[in-house]
Amino acid sequence: MKPYSYQRAEDVDGAVAALVEQPNAKFLAGGTNLVDLMKLGVEEPDALVDVRRLTSDHVEDLDDGGLRIGAAVPNSVLAADRKIRTRYPALSQALLAGASGQLRNLATTGGNLLQRTRCVYWQDVTTPCNKREPGSGCSAIEGHNKNHAILGASEHCVATHPSDMAVAMYALDAFVVVHGPDGERRFPIEELHRLPGDEPQRDTTLEHGELITAVDLPPLDLAANSKYRKVRERASYAFALVSVAAALDVEDGVVRDVRIALGGVAHKPWRATKAEEALRGEPANEANFHAAADIELEDAQPLRDNAFKIPLARNIIARTLLDLSEER
């Protein structure tokens, strides 16, 4: 880890300005991922700008009936928030399925969205990796790739996004609020993360100096009937093999509306829009749920070690939707 300067900015504008001035500076929030990666030599900032105390650490009501989650809200506090638990249970469940109690106390909402991949080659500076060193090659494509992507990957990168929280937020149509050198912008969370394409070094669409200040959850009635299902090799404290966040509205046995997002399958949380479209207006039954999953997974391209993710994703999409239709 090379030496770096540390500063606490006075406010969000000051933090943004500090980053703009220093091309190799990084925002520091909970540190649970950034400090980890700095120790590995994967991240090597010259300066850290501490933003942990700058943004809101509260969940507030929005005028439209939605909720605004301050970027500094710890994962543990967000999971326990009564409004989240009642109105957006999939988000609580996703958070509670992630990391450990002590990590959730440190990790923040903004930082969680910017978690970087767990690809073992990316984390090991002694092996080639296009994400870490563009042009050096992808070690995972022909290496150990059980945990890698089956959807949306490129010949340059097959890494997956590790967040549980973000998967739920994708399914809940969340918006991200960002402050940058040019002021504030707010956009659908789907536009935050990228597929690797030929620029795998870029995880997100954020420009240098842009700081996530909040995540907005829009009012969404079916979110109250939402669920997060995570499949992992340990019973706890492990990254997902595959996960699914879903929300379902069934009336008279017919799917009126549905949201589905997948984790562990792609470079970003994967919104299963094809499956959603296939289900709207159709009878809510196991066969249709499976069929919709199949449509979504049609384009899946397994690697040497991860073909199992296709039946796994199919099974948990269907099971989660069945659970949601039974619970209603």
């Binding site: 880890m1 090379k2 073992v120 070690s139 150990h144 340990r234 019973a235 404290y237």
Partner: protein, 696 residues
């Protein structure tokens, strides 16, 4: 004769709280890195980024320019070692690279932060040669080692196996594999090394202070008395800290260059996956033949495993197969591939753990093939004597363990058909397996007993407590041996200042250290009577046990496991395990129980989680941390029902104890695997059993 001396004091067998409990629960017990030393320096290693070849250049100029830097040590400036015959330990003596991750240098700095940064700035160039780092079944260079770890013969054969197999009514011929695994004690391998006026002090995380002293003295060409090793508390080892590894030599080498200043070196978790030993991967073929009644007529167990090109370690994988069951014919073989990899070493029950996974999974399959309950099948093949030595057992209560466990677990009405029970979305199954572990007796340990007045006795022996509870158990043993209460014992261990103690390994600690204490107590009373004077002292050695000529000595056990497999995801969970043990006399019921649950959970871990993934292109383990190399969390472990048979074995040692550190893991993985098969109908023969292998 010492073996007939029985104790009546009652300290042995008591369920005593650990005497070091208060220090451990407050975190004030000092582990190796935590001893106070003045003005320490910090070491960060430089490790090879190729798997085979030569270092052709090292540019440390950028590192050396950092403020806070002290020195960079490489093969170009390292002190010469006196003895380089052990190539694992002969580091920085040449430009040769034998595996990826090998120490090729180190940075020493005033702070840990500077040392770590500087190590990353050292530029190394290599002349790289082709390497082979993956174990392959069809490797044409497989060879036959002269003997196996612990001195076991490489191959054995009795009767005509091929004939018996071909004429058997029921046969099985299957291949089982176990992956590379790493010990990963919670406390990483750690050394503080300090040279002062030609004397070397090592605060070391080790299972044996004296073995480290002897090895280090030899490697550096020193008189043993010039090396002191201190290890009062050790954060686990499971075998990896049984022998000194290159990290200890590296710290000592670096400290030698900076006389008078202590050098601290703790491996990072990532570094723990190279150079401190590991369990070799195994490829095992098992053939079983049986008659119509389910009596085994042929057992063949053939093992392929790996070692390092720089030093041979030949694990005794099929050794338990040589005696566990009765058969007319039997063959066991071991073949090795020597690879460009770090040296494999001991990991909890080396040999028995992977070997008994394969054998006990095969026994389960064979029971099904013979249409017999797996417990009944095992009982039907219970031997009269130890087939390996031809001797009777000093005590053997495997059948009692199986029967008692069946009762406790509720085995009686088990429907043997696989994939026949479902509760909600969980497929439910149960499995059983046997366990066995030999009673090892290592030579040379000594204990001193000194009367310190006021009714108190000092007991000194350089033994290590790596979590086993030796601090407590040796006090209990001392109290009964001397005939006083435990409050009257001042136990001193974990330091080469005290008399020689062999390694805490092979489940032998209590047998040999306890025997030495008993012998010292006997001699003490002989010389100084019941009313000694202050300062009266005796030192004695672990006596030979002549009964080892007359009896085969083994511990036994049986496991019962319930496994649940999610029908949608094939996630495997184990809500309950039961273990019944026949291990002679229990010294401390409380700490013994912990040994058993620890071993069984490590077996569960072996069955479901652990796997070091080597990327052959690079030659190293890529999942080298606790996020990717899974060991069980609290949520992965359910209820553990632990019990033991009252076993009176007058032959093993004065305590009547057989050693319990390792038996808990032996066969435990098989019981889990057998339960998973019963739940799902899918037989996964390649550990670990992860969802990808079960998903259809």
């Amino acid at each position: 004769m010492s073996t007939t001396t029985r104790t009546t004091g009652g300290a042995i067998g008591a369920s005593l709280d650990r005497i070091d409990g208060p220090q451990k629960v407050t975190g004030t017990a000092p582990y190796a890195y935590e001893h106070h030393v003045d003005n320490p320096l910090y070491l960060f290693p430089i490790r090879s980024e190729i798997a085979r070849g030569r270092v052709t250049g090292i540019d440390a100029s950028a590192a050396e320019a950092l403020p806070g830097m002290v020195t960079v040590i490489t093969h170009e400036n390292a002190p010469q070692l006196a003895d380089t015959s052990d190539r694992e330990l002969a580091i920085l003596q040449s430009d040769e690279v034998a595996f990826r991750g090998q120490y090729i240098g180190a940075v020493i700095a005033e702070t840990f932060e500077v040392a770590r940064h500087a190590a990353g700035l050292v530029e190394v160039s290599y002349d790289e040669e082709p390497h082979e780092a993956e174990l392959r079944e069809n490797d044409s260079d497989l060879y036959t080692p002269e003997q196996l770890n612990a001195g076991f013969p490489t191959d054995t054969e009795e009767g005509d196996v091929d004939e018996a197999f071909s004429s058997a009514a029921v046969t099985l011929d299957e291949r089982y594999t176990t992956p590379m695994e790493h010990n990963n004690p919670m406390e990483p391998h750690t050394t503080i090394a300090l040279w002062e006026t030609g004397n070397l002090t090592l605060y070391e995380s080790t299972q044996g202070a004296h073995p480290v002293q002897r090895t280090v003295a030899q490697v550096f060409g020193l008189d043993r008395n010039r090396v002191r090793v201190v290890a009062p508390y050790v954060g686990g080892g499971f075998g990896s800290k049984g022998l000194p590894h290159a990290n200890t030599i590296l710290a000592a080498l670096a400290a030698r260059m900076i006389e008078g200043r202590p050098v601290k070196f703790a491996l990072t978790r990532q570094q723990m996956f190279t150079g401190v030993g590991y369990r070799t991967p195994t490829i095992q073929r098992i053939q079983l033949g049986a008659d119509e009644e389910g009596h085994l007529t042929a057992i063949d167990h053939d093992v392929i495993e790996q070692t390092s090109k720089i030093k041979e370690f030949a694990e005794q994988t099929a050794v338990a197969t040589r005696s566990l069951y009765a058969t007319q014919s039997r063959r066991t073989t071991h073949r090795l591939a020597a690879l460009d990899v770090p040296v494999p070493s001991w990991m909890r029950a080396p040999g028995e753990a992977p070997g008994m996974y394969a054998l006990e999974a095969a026994m389960d399959e064979m029971a099904i093939a013979c249409n017999l309950d797996p417990i009944e099948f095992r009982i039907r093949n219970e031997p009269e004597i130890d087939a390996e030595t031809g001797l009777p057992y000093s005590s053997r209560n495997l059948v009692a363990c199986l029967r008692e466990g069946a009762k406790r677990f509720g085995w009686k009405d088990r429907d043997p058909s696989p994939r026949a029970r479902q509760e909600g979305r969980w497929l439910v199954g149960t499995g059983v397996a046997s366990s066995t572990y030999p009673v090892f007796r290592l030579p040379g340990s000594r204990a001193t007993i000194r009367y310190e007045g006021d009714g108190r006795y000092a007991v000194e022996i350089g033994a290590a407590d790596i979590g086993t509870g030796a601090w407590t158990a040796l006090i209990q043993i001392s109290a009964d041996a001397i005939g006083v209460s435990i409050e009257d014992i001042n136990l001193r261990i974990g330091d080469t200042t005290f008399p020689f103690a062999s390694v805490a390994g092979g489940s032998s600690g209590i047998t040999v250290w306890g025997s030495a204490i008993f012998e010292a107590a006997r001699v003490f009373r002989e010389r100084h009577g019941e009313n000694p004077s202050e300062g009266d002292e005796v030192q004695a050695r672990t006596p030979d046990n002549p009964e080892t000529e007359n009896y085969a000595m083994h511990a036994f056990g049986a496991y019962f496991v319930e496994a649940r497999v999610d029908v949608d995801t094939c996630e495997v969970r184990v809500p309950r395990m039961a273990g019944v043990f026949a291990v002679g006399r229990i010294i401390n019921a409380k700490t013994a129980r912990s040994q058993f649950i620890g071993g069984m959970t490590m077996g569960l871990s072996m069955a479901l989680h652990e796997e070091s993934l080597v990327d052959g292109r690079f030659g190293h383990v890529v999942n080298h941390d606790f996020a990717e190399y899974h060991i069980p969390t609290n949520a992965d472990v359910g209820t553990m029902d632990i019990s033991w048979i009252d076993e009176d074995d007058p032959y093993v040692n004065p305590m009547g104890s057989k050693g319990i550190g390792e038996i808990g893991i032996v066969g435990s993985a098989a019981a889990v695997a057998n339960a998973v098969h019963h739940a799902t109908g899918v037989r996964v023969r390649d550990l670990p059993i992860t969802p990808d292998k079960l998903l259809r």
